[in-house]
C-alpha cells in the first residue's frame, strides 16, 4: 500500500495534459516484479525477453499466463500481415480508440506506429488534437476512425450499416475483421494502461 501512496503523491506536473506523439514514460501504481523474481513461466508470459525492462509488462507479469495470451493476441492482430488491413490502418484504429477512451499514453505510441507505417502525420496530429480526422483525410481513414469509435462506445454502436458502407468503399471482409479486432483490442489495452499507472512527459535535458 505504501508504494501506491508514494507513486500517487509523485504524480505531478510532468503528467501530460494534451495528446502528443512525444515519447512518454509510464509509471505503475503497483510494484512490478523484479527481474530477479522471473522464472521461465514469466519469460514465456513476457513473450519477448526484452520486455523485462518494461515496468508495464513486469507488472502484468504478476499473472504471467494471462499476459502471454494477451501478448500473442496483440501480435496476431497488429503484426500478422497475411491479408487483411494494412498495418498503418490497424494502428490508426488503435490511435482513434485510444483518443476516444482518453488514453494519452496509448494514443502517443500508436500514432507514432501508424506514421512509421506510412500513415499521414498531419491527419494523425489533427486526430490527437481534436478527436477527429481532418475533413480532407482519405475516405479509408475516415471510415477506419469512425468505425473504431463506434466499436468503442458502450453499448457498442457498430452495426450492419457500417458493414455496408465499408464494403461499398471497397473493404473486403478480412479487412473489416482486422478493423474489428484492432479496435476491440485497444479497449482492452487502454483500460490496463489507464488504470494501473500514469504517463509522464520525457525529462528535458538541461544542458
Amino acid at each position: 500500500m505504501s508504494i501506491i501512496q508514494q507513486n500517487a503523491s509523485s504524480q505531478d506536473h510532468r503528467e501530460p495534459a494534451l495528446f502528443t506523439t512525444a515519447l512518454l514514460d509510464w509509471h505503475p501504481w503497483l510494484p512490478p516484479l523484479e527481474e530477479s523474481e522471473l522464472t521461465e513461466v514469466h519469460y514465456e508470459g513476457l513473450v519477448d525477453r526484452a520486455r523485462a525492462k518494461s515496468p508495464y509488462f513486469m507488472l502484468l507479469a504478476r499473472d504471467p499466463q494471462v499476459l502471454g495470451a494477451r501478448t500473442r493476441s496483440d501480435k496476431d492482430i497488429f503484426y500478422n500481415t497475411a491479408g487483411g488491413l494494412p498495418r498503418r490502418e490497424r494502428e490508426l484504429a488503435a490511435t482513434a480508440v485510444s483518443r476516444f477512451n482518453g488514453c494519452i499514453y496509448c494514443a502517443s505510441v500508436h500514432a507514432r506506429f501508424s506514421e512509421r507505417q506510412g500513415g499521414s502525420a498531419e491527419a494523425l496530429a489533427v486526430l490527437l488534437a481534436t478527436g477527429s480526422l481532418p475533413v480532407d483525410a482519405t475516405e479509408t481513414w475516415l471510415l477506419v476512425a469512425e468505425v473504431a469509435r463506434q466499436i468503442s462506445e458502450t453499448p457498442m454502436g457498430f452495426s450492419y450499416v457500417h458493414v455496408r458502407v465499408l464494403r461499398q468503399a471497397g473493404f473486403n471482409d478480412a479487412e473489416i475483421f482486422d478493423l474489428i479486432n484492432a479496435s476491440s483490442f485497444f479497449n482492452w489495452a487502454n483500460r490496463l494502461m489507464l488504470s494501473l499507472g500514469y504517463p509522464t512527459l520525457p525529462v528535458e535535458k538541461q544542458d
Binding site: R62, I151, T154, D178, L196
Partner: protein, 216 residues
C-alpha cells in the same frame, strides 16, 4: 439461453464461436481462422481468467460474478446470460445472481466519459454515473471489485491510484488486482469481438467475395 457451454467440454468448445453461432467451415469460421493465433489466444484468455486451474486469491465464483456484471453492462444479452448461467452453477454463485442482475439494471449507462488531467483537455471532460455498489448482499470485497469494473467499463480515464487503494483496503492483493484488471479489460475486448462478429453474421458474406483468396 440454456448454457450448453463449458470450458471443460470434450471436444473443446470455442466460446466466441458458440455465442455467435459460427459453424465449422462457414465463412465466418474461415475468416476467424485467418487470425488463428488470435482465435486460440482469445479462448485461452477466457479460460485462464474465468476457469483457472489455480484461482489464487481470486475465486472462480468472484470471477464469474465480475464477468456477468461486465457483460450485462455492455447489453450483450447472450454472453451475459451465459456468464450468469456459469455463475449460478458455481459453488456459492447461485446466491449472487439476483444481486448481479440488479446491479446491471441500476448501473447501465453510456460510455466512455470522465475527466482528463487539468489543462486544455478539460473542455472535453464529461460527467457520468459514478456507481456505488452496495456491499449488503455480496460483501465488501466483491462490491469494491464491481465498483472498479464499472469504472473501467464506462469511465476508465477517471482511474486513479486511489481506486487501487480501495481494492487493497477491501482485501485485494497486488497480484489479484492485476488479474481483476485483466479480467475486466479483456471482457471489454471479448464483448466487442462477439458484437462485431454477430453484426457480420447478420450482414452475411459480401456478395461475389471469395475468402480469403480475393484478398488483394
Amino acid at each position: 439461453m440454456s448454457t450448453g457451454f463449458s470450458f471443460e467440454a470434450e471436444p473443446a468448445q470455442d466460446l466466441i464461436d458458440y455465442i455467435v453461432g459460427i459453424e465449422s467451415g462457414s465463412w465466418l469460421d474461415t475468416l476467424r481462422r485467418g487470425r488463428n493465433v488470435l482465435r486460440d489466444n482469445a479462448q485461452q484468455s477466457a479460460a485462464l481468467l474465468l476457469n483457472p486451474e489455480q484461482d489464487g486469491s481470486f475465486s472462480r465464483t468472484e470471477r464469474l460474478a465480475v464477468a456477468s456484471f461486465v457483460a450485462g453492462l455492455h447489453g450483450e444479452q447472450d454472453i451475459y446470460h451465459l456468464y450468469l448461467g456459469l455463475l449460478e452453477r458455481s459453488g456459492e454463485g447461485g446466491a449472487l445472481s439476483a444481486a448481479i442482475r440488479q446491479f446491471v439494471r441500476d448501473g447501465r449507462t453510456r460510455g466512455p466519459y470522465g475527466a482528463y488531467p487539468k489543462g486544455a483537455l478539460s473542455t472535453e471532460d464529461l460527467n457520468g454515473l459514478v456507481f456505488d455498489v452496495s456491499a449488503e448482499k455480496i460483501g465488501k470485497r466483491l462490491s469494491v471489485a464491481l465498483k472498479h469494473a464499472h469504472l473501467l467499463v464506462y469511465h476508465p480515464r477517471d482511474a486513479s491510484a486511489g481506486a487501487l487503494e480501495a481494492l487493497q483496503k477491501a482485501g485485494w492483493s497486488e497480484t489479484a488486482i492485476v488479474t481483476l484488471s485483466q479480467l475486466v479489460s479483456f471482457l471489454t475486448f471479448q464483448v466487442r469481438i462477439i458484437h462485431g462478429l454477430t453484426v457480420l453474421r447478420h450482414a452475411g458474406p459480401a456478395v461475389g467475395q471469395g475468402l480469403p483468396e480475393s484478398t488483394p
